[in-house]
């Protein structure tokens, strides 16, 4: 569904991503992991059109997306759910959700879509007229994801869904993400703590200083990485 080939990008003169290639199949859950500050968020920002592409190709459902505007990319069904939620804090839950359906086609269907989202997140429905700023951490995360779903997204790119949440909530969020992936949209995740995602990840990419250094299924990775020189001679 998503094919990224030899992507290089960064901020102005500083190149952060180097020759990044990833591929996401429809209906799968793909995780990009690695330490903070090594380019994972940058990757998503390039994919969603917030940052320009220096070099490389981005293909989504057959369409070439590099260089297109953020709005166009969203219109194609590739939705970036940013780190830290970035909610419209003074708007209500419902208004936030409606904003997710900003694009004209989605807007017409917004009432049905919001019903779907409320099915997935009943707590949001309870709080629909409350200002987003009054929501708890977990609820905000739900709202962020729900907002992303409002736009007929075919693929969601979620940046650090576990950020700032207690372990119980992390599990809840990931359970929801799994449900979403199975029924609504393909999911590409950025997650610093791989342990969080290991239960649901179909495929994992490891990013180190802007490069993909390793990839594979969870099983492959478990065996591979231990054996690799990265661990040196610490464990067996």
């Amino acid at each position: 569904m998503l094919e990224v080939t030899d992507l290089s990008a960064g901020y102005g003169a500083a190149t952060v991503l180097q020759d990044v290639s990833i591929s996401v199949d429809e209906g799968k859950i793909v995780v990009v992991t690695g330490p903070n500050g090594h380019g994972k968020t940058t990757l998503l920002r390039v994919l969603s059109g917030l940052l320009p592409v220096n070099h490389g190709e981005i293909e989504f459902r057959g369409e070439r997306l590099n260089g297109r505007s953020a709005a166009t990319i969203v219109a194609h069904g590739l939705v970036h759910i940013p780190q830290g939620d970035l909610l419209f804090v003074d708007l209500t839950v419902e208004q936030n959700l409606f904003m997710g359906a900003y694009l004209r086609q989605a807007w017409k269907a917004r009432r049905e879509r919001i019903r779907r989202v409320y099915e997935l997140f009943p707590r949001l429905e309870e709080r629909r007229t409350q200002q987003a700023r009054t929501l708890s951490g977990g609820e905000r995360r739900m709202l962020g994801i729900g907002r992303g779903l409002m736009s007929n997204a075919k693929m969601l790119m979620v940046d650090e869904p576990a950020l700032g949440l207690a372990p119980v909530l992390v599990q809840e969020v990931y359970a929801t993400l799994e449900r979403v992936a199975r029924s609504e949209a393909t999911v590409l995740l950025v997650e610093e703590t791989l342990a969080n995602a290991k239960g649901i990840a179909d495929y994992v990419y490891l990013m180190d200083t802007g490069r993909i250094v390793h990839q594979g299924t969870m099983a492959e990775l478990g065996a591979d990485v231990l054996a690799s020189t990265y661990l040196g001679n610490k464990e067996g």
């Binding site: 969203v74 940013p82 900003y102 694009l103």
Partner: protein
Amino acid sequence: METLVQALISGLVFGAIYAIMTMGLTLVYGCLRTLNMAQGAFGMVGGYAAWVITTDMGAPPIVGLFVGALAAAGIGILTHFISIKPLVGRKDIDFEMTAYISTLVVAIMFSAAIILLFGARNKAIDPLVEGRLHVFGTVTVAWQQVAVAVVAFICLGGLSLMLSRSRQGLSIMAVAQQFDAAKLMGVPAGRVYWVTMALAGLLGGIAGVLLAPLYFVSPSAGDLPILKGLTVAVVAGLGSIRGTIYAAFIIGLIEALVATYVGSLWSLPVLFALIVVFMIVRPYGLFGKPEEERL
């Protein structure tokens, strides 16, 4: 007692006009992070447009209101394209200050252009409605004041609905609150910007046409309004919609009371004192957020 009521009525009416006028400033600041010094000029141009349509071409005053509002909306869009858009996104300038100067200079240019087209003399314009209504004792209310209240109610109410329900309105709020996320939802920032400026123009124009019968239509008709608008904005907290409405009425009432009981000459220094006090004591206004750091 009756003087008091009269003053209160006047204060409320002016408060309503200030609310409409300052709302333009608020929206532009919230969305574009610009202090639009041309806001008063919008009203001035609106007044002239209304004058042309009514006094010059004989249309009824209500038409003047619509035409004035639309003309001012157009001016708002023009202002955006010549003085704000060229500055957006540039890293070689201090956007906030430069946009401030830019819009200020544009306001001056509009005045000059108006003098070119219409000459420098004041022009009189008829109010929307003539006559007064007797309430009790010596207290009377001009029908114009009632009309102003009605227009204000419709305007502010309509605006509130639009901002909270409509796609365009929500997108304006979204851009104001969380620019990055709005982009990620596919909101085209460029369009939101000029729509907001058009809206500011519209509101400014309405306020200008409402004020015109009282203060004449003149090239400098925008000077006092921008000053009052700034006062309201400072007291309210830049960018706060709710604050703008409250502050506008507070300022309107204070102004009316000072004018009635102390002397109209004093209302200006009092306004200024208010600005100073608020800037020092309560930097982000009554309803502003601490993130809008002043210091």
